[in-house]
């Protein structure tokens, strides 16, 4: 083949000169260029694009990508204790199989009849989330945990007609930044004020006195998480919800669904709206690209008619005895009402609803219970073991799930330096909290899951011992 005879591109069936010519002939034009007649000449780019060399051979392309990616170090090659919104949980092989199925992977919209299996899977995802949180209404996933919280706060604001939300001061700065963007700067007319509520210095739990001092008839919602950003199980849920209710505010609870085999369902301690992450449900960390969020509530019109999500309802078909799954309350979204719709709706993280459905069906009630017990035990073992290392102190020593804070002020060194030393030994230490929460000093947030072994934890403790000695 000479350079003058172009090779057809493997991704483009019509990139064959005679086919193009026949198509041009069929519509009676002599060159493709004529088809761009709508674009004024002075709008056109007068040169070719300057891009890196084309790699149309799959062999060449694969080699290039693998070479680039080999510069990464992974949480498989290394021992990682990073969490903070993106967690290393086991992803069942069947989850990977299903999200790789071309039918689930490449579809878009479709129809309830032709994409019945996907719609049913989506319904099964929502149904299983519903059982974990004990809520009858679950929308399709949103972009992330923080985005779910943002939308829920906006829902609460519309429901109550109020423009203030109370959030824990000890919140994930990532999620809080998202929430702040959803609540707008105060120049905007519909601004929702984000007011932090302090925490008890000993327990890390929400300071109820501060909550009572700050809540008022202008409060749309109280938002808190369990486990919280720093891993703590918020055991005052019932009291917080009662305080919110007494002030006419909604209670929004953020949860990590992997906890819900062993932790009380949020509906059972007074949540009105439940949000959370979907990433632990069978999704790889993907360098943060595995995150997703959910929104759930009671099945009351007051709530359902405020969802920005697409929602999938079971419904009869025209054939007696047969059921299908279709969009419900879609008109209230921006697809139906543009700027009058609820927030906005668009592409989201629906593939992770597929893995979530598979994950929860594989887990069943016993899987969630077993995983929860294992994680809690290992996390406490890790906290106890690390806390015994000279120079290390567990800041909130009890009542956490998989994450806990370790302080190194007594070690006379910084988290940054400690993590650098650990990294040299193939360990990714906890997330550095020192700039986020200066009041916690040189502290790091460690995460332990079912993916860790007791030996992994001992290895971390030994390495820390060495670093701090």
């Amino acid at each position: 083949m000479t350079a003058n005879a172009p090779t057809a591109h493997p991704y483009m069936a019509n990139s064959v000169p005679d086919i193009k010519q026949e198509m041009l002939d069929a519509i009676g034009v002599s060159s493709v260029e004529e088809l761009f007649e709508q674009i004024p000449d002075d709008h056109r780019l007068k040169r070719g694009l300057s891009l890196p060399k084309q790699l149309r051979s799959e062999a060449e392309l694969r080699r290039h990508l693998v070479d680039l990616l080999s510069k990464n170090a992974t949480c498989e090659q290394n021992l990682s204790f990073l969490g903070a919104g993106c967690w290393q949980h086991h992803v069942p092989a069947v989850c990977d199989e299903m999200v790789g199925r071309a039918e689930f992977l490449t579809n878009v919209w479709g129809s309830p009849s032709s994409d019945h299996g996907r719609n049913q899977t989506w319904f099964e995802y929502c149904s299983q989330i519903g059982e974990l949180v004990k809520m009858d209404m679950v929308g399709m996933p949103v972009y992330s945990y923080g985005c779910a919280a943002g939308h829920a706060i906006r829902m609460a604001s519309r429901i109550t007609g109020r423009h203030e939300v109370l959030v824990p001061a000890l919140s994930d700065p990532e999620r809080l930044s998202v929430i702040r963007n959803y609540c707008e700067p105060d120049e905007m007319e519909s601004h929702i004020a984000v007011v932090p509520v302090g925490y008890d210095a000993a327990t890390g739990l929400l300071d109820l006195d501060d909550l009572k001092a700050k809540i008022s008839p202008t409060t749309a919602a109280v938002y808190f998480e369990s486990p919280s950003y720093v891993g703590l199980i918020e055991r005052q849920g019932e009291e917080i919800a009662a305080i919110a209710r007494a002030n006419g505010a909604e209670t929004i609870v953020g949860v990590d669904p992997i906890t819900l085999g062993v932790l009380k369902a949020p509906a059972d301690y007074g949540a009105d709206i439940v949000v959370g992450t979907t990433q632990p449900l069978g999704v790889h960390m993907n360098c943060g690209g595995g995150v997703g969020g959910f929104i759930a509530s009671r099945d009351e019109e007051k709530y359902v008619h405020e969802y920005n999500t697409l929602n999938i309802s079971i419904a009869e078909t025209e054939r007696p005895g047969q059921f299908g799954f279709g969009l419900s309350c879609a008109h209230q979204t921006s697809y139906g009402m543009r700027e009058k719709g609820k927030d906005w709706t668009g592409n989201s993280t629906y593939l992770w609803a597929i893995s979530g459905a598979v994950y929860m069906a594989l887990m069943g009630p016993e899987g969630f219970r077993e995983a929860g017990n294992l994680i809690v035990a290992q996390a406490h073992y890790a906290a106890k073991t690390l806390g015994a290392v000279k120079g290390a102190r567990v800041v909130f020593p009890a009542g956490f799930f998989k994450e806990f804070v370790v302080n190194f002020d007594d070690a006379g060194t910084s988290v940054e330096e400690i993590n650098a030393s650990l990294r040299a030994g193939g360990i990714f230490g906890g997330k550095d909290l020192s700039s986020e929460f200066p009041e916690l000093g040189q502290s790091a947030l460690f995460c332990v899951t079912e993916c860790h072994t007791r030996e992994d934890i001992d290895r971390l403790a030994d390495a820390l011992q060495e670093v701090l000695s």
Binding site: M12, A13, M23, E37, L45, L49, P52, E58, R62, L65, N72, T74, G85, C86, Q88, V94, E103, F104, V108, S111, S113, S114, D115, H116, G117, R118, C126, S127, E131, K134, D136, Y143, E174, N181, E187, M188, I233, V262, H284, C287, G288, V291, V304, N311, A315, F323, S334, D343, W344, G346, S348, W352, A361, L362, M363, E366, G367, E370, G399, R423
Partner: protein, 520 residues
């Protein structure tokens, strides 16, 4: 090639698969975990004692109890009951492309899947290099100065833009005054919706006879209250606004920013650039134009790019390169912060980079050519089918990569609606087409988009199916109105979906409303 030609037989898989909540048997397990190490228990005690009593769960969540192969088979069946792109999907506005298998294999590698966004940047140099190099590719395609990938979709990129717009005007002390966003009725609804969610008032321009809003309408809408223009071009009827440079000038003179929603980029890639048209920012949807899978609605990426002037407001972190090492730049005091946690759907960015490299400059140019050629090739044949007309029929220039059609005539003649036709298409293994965003400007609309992947034979097949359905509508309309007939299930009843007494978004709600195990 006529409507009476022989078409391939097709029937969807039918499994009558029960809802998973009804499946399984008490005691079965699909996934088990290691026993807790004895040394762990010895050190910390029984795990239940570690959970505060008032927060312990005492009931079992009512999830199915199934073995692993039962779960696998259930979801394999459901995947088979999903048409996806197994046939020909020309879903307009979504730019259906080949989602290469190699990209899926690369994205699943541990160097992508098993990495954490809070790892030290030294351990993520490969990913950061890919992101930076892809940023450079998008800069060349657009003329913008910096791209970020945090937005989880096109709408989220529009939201990013309105957040950047707020920060820009806030920095100038003008945000309270500049509270209006100008857009057009033919811009994607997410532009108006995200701007409204960000607290702006929306000014929507209607179309004039040319198929786009007039300059006079724009001039009347723009003022010292204008914060930004959010606009696409071409629109999804295939009409290009030739006044767009003047539009941008008018908005700039009034002090507003201009955002180019490149939803319909496929037909103009390599042909023009946002920068030269004067825009301050633009957005590409990697799950559409750049070859990553749609996955039924994400994970997606809205790649947002802007000029140097706006870069200080971009969400953090921004991937930078100092000539030797790649960095995650968080030290940007005027940044809007986060629109979503972390720095984007990394596997999708890697896949888009891979697609761009596989295509190269020549492939991208050819893809634009083929998508516009394919659309106009189809248009000629579609307009020969009884009952089909196109939007703005008086505009006789070649359309871009999409054309909006109308079945108003077909409906008048036969009573068959565009919904009926969409439902009948799937009986031939053809994905239901895109109609149009609401509000419909064209009655009974439909909007195919040929793209560059499908062969001429595929495009002909699609048109043949539509021709057959038109013929059916004129000769045996019931078969179309009662479609589908060859699918996993029949048409679902729409009314219960909007009835609070009957809708059921979860199995819990269904059981409560219909009684356990009761047939709907």
């Amino acid at each position: 090639m006529s409507g009476n030609g022989t078409l391939r037989n097709y029937h969807a898989a039918v499994w009558d698969e029960p809802v998973v909540m009804e499946m399984g048997h008490h005691g079965r397990r699909g996934m088990v975990f290691p026993d807790i190490d004895e040394a762990v228990t010895a050190a910390v005690g029984d795990s239940e004692s570690l959970i505060p009593e008032e927060m312990r769960r005492h009931d079992r969540p009512a999830l199915p109890e199934m073995s692993e192969p039962e779960v696998q088979r259930h979801y394999l069946h459901l995947s088979q009951e999903t048409l996806g792109m197994m046939g020909v999907s020309l879903f307009g506005t979504c730019t259906m492309k080949y989602n290469s298998r190699i990209n899926e294999l690369i994205g699943a590698r541990p160097e992508v899947a098993e990495t954490h966004p809070l790892q030290h940047e030294d351990t993520l140099q490969g990913t950061l290099e890919i992101i930076h190099n892809f940023d450079l590719i998008l800069r060349e395609l657009s003329g913008m100065d910096q791209f970020v990938f945090q937005a989880g979709g096109g709408a989220d990129a529009a939201y990013t833009h309105v957040c950047v717009t707020r920060a820009y005007h806030q920095a100038r002390g003008q945000l309270a005054q500049r509270n209006e966003i100008v857009t057009s009725i033919q811009a994607h609804p997410c532009n108006a919706a995200t701007a409204a969610a960000a607290g702006f008032k929306i000014v929507t321009l209607m179309l004039d006879d040319n198929g786009y809003p007039s300059l006079d309408a724009l001039k009347a809408a723009v003022s010292d209250r204008t914060a930004a223009l959010l606009i696409n071009n071409p629109d999804d009827m295939g009409i290009y606004n030739p006044d767009i440079k003047e539009w941008v000038n008018i908005v700039h003179e009034a002090g507003g920013l201009c955002f180019y929603d490149h939803a319909n980029f496929n037909g103009v890639m390599s042909k023009l650039r946002a920068r030269e048209l004067g825009f301050d920012a633009c957005m590409y949807m990697l799950h559409k134009t750049f070859g990553t899978p749609k996955a039924g609605g994400g994970p997606a990426v809205g790649a947002y790019g802007c000029t140097e002037e706006l870069a200080e407001f971009l969400p953090c972190p921004v991937v930078t390169f100092d000539g030797e090492t790649y960095h995650l730049d968080e030290d940007r005091p005027n940044s809007i912060g986060r629109v979503r946690e972390f720095w984007g759907n990394v596997p999708q960015i890697v896949k888009s980079y891979s697609w761009s490299r596989a295509m190269g400059a020549e492939g991208i140019c050819e893809a634009a050519d083929l998508s516009v050629l394919g659309n106009n090739y189809m248009e000629k044949r579609l307009l020969e089918i009884p009952g089909i007309t196109k939007s703005q029929p008086h505009l006789n220039k070649w359309r871009m990569e999409m054309t909006r059609y109308s079945l108003e005539k077909l409906k008048e003649d036969t009573g068959v609606t565009t919904f009926d036709v969409a439902n009948r298409m799937v009986d031939f293994g053809i994905d239901a087409y895109w109609l149009a965003h609401e509000p419909w400007l064209v009655p009974e609309p439909f909007t195919p988009e040929a793209g560059e992947m499908y062969s001429r034979e595929d495009l002909d097949h699609w048109v043949d199916v539509l021709a057959r359905i038109s013929h059916e509508a004129y000769t045996d309309p019931e078969i179309v109105k009662t479609a589908p007939h060859n699918q996993a299930i029949a048409k679902i009843k729409a009314e219960p979906l909007e009835d609070p007494e009957k809708w059921a978004m979860t199995w819990r709600a269904y059981k409560r409303k219909y009684g356990a195990g009761k047939e709907t």
